[in-house]
């Protein structure tokens, strides 16, 4: 190596510059030509390498680097594919969740309206019968009213109204001094029953021999049944707050 030479006395700056300038003078010794050739080779290789590095991206890399790069890219794309699948799953879940919620909401709304009619909370309209009990002598007992109501329910009546009072599961009939009380209020005369349900079945059920209307007539009152295409029950009542019973959770 050129640096491993024996020590010489240190030359001054001026001498150094002179040496440098002297070496720039043309000298035509054969060994200098060899040095020049090597320098030419160096310049050539330098430029070649620089151009090569600038022009090529991946092709300048060695095989192991390329393999590593390929692996990284593959890993990355696999990761991204996983993410895509995950997000798609989440999206599907969300979409189906929305559908389920909507279906549940519709079912709940439908049930609420059904229960509202049955419990007397909502006004109702539909085909049915209008039953008129004319009891001028106040001869009818509360039990006759109960028999009529039971007969109506057996025949599938969905909503009942007696003389302006909505009849539900809580309704009671009572024998009073002046006549029958419905929920504690005296029934007028004639008493009008509005019934929504299968009008044919109901009218048949009321009129069967030995049935409800036969009992009413045997107690000295008259009864008239009129089938109507549209009976409108507008009276509602608010169900009592439950004090003792509480619903059992479904599925428990």
């Amino acid at each position: 190596m050129t640096a491993d030479q024996p020590e010489r006395p240190e030359p001054t700056t001026r001498e150094s510059w002179r040496v440098l300038l002297r070496s720039l003078r043309p000298q035509a010794r054969p060994s200098h030509l060899l040095v020049g050739l090597l320098c030419m080779l160096l310049g050539f290789a330098l430029v070649t390498q620089v151009r090569h590095t600038q022009s090529s991206g991946l092709s300048a890399l060695r095989q192991s680097d390329l393999v590593q790069l390929l692996e990284e890219t593959t890993d990355h794309s696999r990761e991204l594919r996983g993410r895509v699948a995950e997000l798609q799953r989440t999206r599907d879940e969300l979409a189906s969740g929305t559908n389920q919620q909507q279906a549940a909401l519709e079912a709940a709304t439908e049930r609420a309206s059904t229960l509202g009619v049955l419990s007397g909370r909502l006004p109702a309209v539909g085909p049915g019968v209008v039953l008129t009990l004319n009891d001028a002598n106040r001869a009818l007992a509360a039990s006759a009213y109960v028999t009529v109501l039971t007969e109506l329910r057996n025949a599938g009546a969905e909503a009942v109204q007696v003389d302006g009072r909505r009849v539900t599961a809580e309704t009671f009939f009572l024998d009073g001094p002046d006549g029958v009380l419905v929920d504690g209020v005296l029934v007028g005369n004639p008493a009008t029953w509005l019934v929504i349900g299968d009008s044919h079945t109901i009218s048949q059920a009321l009129e069967i021999p030995g049935g409800a209307l036969a009992l009413v007539r045997s107690q000295g009152a008259t009864a008239g049944v009129r089938v109507a295409d549209e009976v409108e029950i507008t009276v509602t009542r608010t169900p009592r707050e439950l004090r003792f019973a509480s619903p059992v959770e479904a599925g428990s």
Partner: protein
């Protein structure tokens, strides 16, 4: 003079000919260039020390280039080519810096 002339001619030839690097030489050329640069700076320093010798320069130049390429080749065969070429570049870089520092001291006394 002839050395500088040769360098300039080489650069111009490289620019004009636009050669492509053969695939087999691709990993070795950059290391060889660095090694040659090291030899060049070493020669310049020796020149200023007054101990420059053509023969020594030619031999050191060629042996530097061949040895650097050989080390990288060996590293490639052992599977540590990247690391070993980094090591060679670091060592040669340090040598270039120390040579350049010696040249600077000669010319500027600083």
């Amino acid at each position: 003079m002839i050395a500088v002339l040769g360098l300039v001619v080489g650069v111009v030839a490289g620019l004009l000919l636009e050669p492509t690097v053969p695939a087999g030489m691709q990993p070795y050329l950059p290391i060889a260039v660095i090694a040659a640069l090291d030899a060049l700076f070493g020669g310049l320093r020796a020149r200023l020390d007054g101990i420059f010798d053509d023969k020594v320069f030619v031999v050191s130049f060629l042996s530097n280039v061949v040895l650097a390429a050989l080390i990288v080749f060996l590293g490639d065969q052992l599977g540590v080519g990247t690391q070993l070429s980094t090591a060679v570049v670091v060592v040669l870089g340090i040598r270039i810096f120390s040579n350049a520092a010696a040249i600077r001291r000669h010319l500027f006394k600083a």
